[in-house]
Symmetry: D2
Subunit: 147 residues, 4 copies
């Protein structure tokens, strides 16, 4: 199944621990940066404007991670993202960071749309909702053309 968004990321010296492999909290920083790039470059919605002047939050409420293989400094991982469900106020994603030897980490993530003034959930702004729906449609059309 074709990913809704993908890019490559370099595992850096500073991501790794004395065991010589990625310190697992760093994967979550890489995850958040990946979501940020997806909004900016995939969905065409400025993440900085959204969480800045527009005061719309996207906190993670559920996050399941499977760490399957180790990563070392200098590795280049392919980051891929699939949309599993777009709700009125929430978004379910599946994400994979893959090395040449297969998946290194895979995530199941649920994000919720909130107001940064009240930290209460709210429906996605119209432009975000439209961009998400469009991304789901593209993902599905890739799927059917692959069959």
């Amino acid at each position: 199944m074709t990913a809704a968004f993908e890019r490559e990321v370099l595992i850096r010296f500073g991501h790794c621990d004395p065991a010589g492999i990625v310190f697992f909290p760093r994967y979550y920083e890489l995850l958040n940066a990946f979501i940020e790039d997806w909004f900016n470059d995939g969905l065409g919605v400025s993440y900085a404007a959204l969480l800045g002047p527009r005061r719309v939050g996207l906190p993670t409420v559920q996050l399941q991670a499977s760490f399957e293989r180790i990563s070392r400094q200098g590795d280049r991982l392919q980051q891929r993202l699939w949309i599993e469900r777009v709700g009125r106020r929430s978004l379910t994603l599946r994400i994979s960071f893959d090395g040449a030897d297969g998946p290194r980490v895979s995530f199941g993530q649920v994000l919720v749309c909130t107001s940064l003034d009240t930290h209460q959930s709210q429906p996605f702004p119209e432009d975000v909702r439209e961009a998400l729906v469009r991304a789901v449609q593209q993902q599905q059309s890739h799927e059917s053309s692959e069959q």
Copy 2:
């Protein structure tokens, strides 16, 4: 159910993001520091010696997180840990970071014992295994005395 280990942690300015709440990857740094303190102060096994000269790794292989309430700078969270299962080569934990208003984050974590030379799984060293079994027994005796 009484926790096998607990301590308090301060949410710092540097843990928080422009939304004024904990940036979620920081919770994972706090989680790892909590496990480290549990080994040092709860189990009586030096974490630095284990992962340093003893070359024993404890990578996380599964990690489920539920982010239930927001935390802000200056909050003091109670961190609690329960042992769910001690295997020959793996350990399943349930962890909760609680504020005055209830759980902020809860984790289900599976760690595996590895060799830092090969990054392959191996049985827990005898002293670690014994400390873990003792901790499970104490947790259970607290449970029965609570009934």
Copy 3:
């Protein structure tokens, strides 16, 4: 010369890099946490209230660091802070993180008081200024009694 504030800090696994020593950006996180504790526990000024509801910033404008000896996971460092100068809008500190073998890192730091609404400099709030002046006096009285 007696420090205006001191405490001990544990070098953790997550502070260290594949070379087995502290990844230097982590020292700056430890530095900021130390300043935070000084405000809370030394000066008696809530850092979270100051930078939160009171909207007073304390950005660093100059920071000189000398990395003198390596630190490894499990090391316990003594963090010490001396006030060099209290101005109307700025504060000059000297800070040292010491191991058993001598200084590991030493910092010269200039912080400025700002409004978090405008990010422009402003005089210290009265209570902060008083706490700083009192801390300088205590530091000096310790000095003269040491002679």
Copy 4:
């Protein structure tokens, strides 16, 4: 004066603090990533191979920073690096992160070449030394052609 290396970097949500501006320890992570990219892409020396299998360290021993203007999420900074001095065992750099309004941060950094087995200083490996000397020559030829 033409920089020996430059690239653009995005200030991310996760780099910023509740004051809405970069949390200063994050600038040091960005600095280290920039040095890493310079080695990989500018000098043509694999940073991961150097600090990994080749066991050559590049710890920072002196680091002066001036924080001149604030940066916010979504800002794109131009990172620039000038070589001030190449010694047998050490390297002095000047680095600037610039926004549209001028310099945001500038650094003066001294790095030393070490053995990761002993953490003692040692001369730069021949290929690193040659790449550094070449980079200095290019920097100077740009300078003279600019006059």
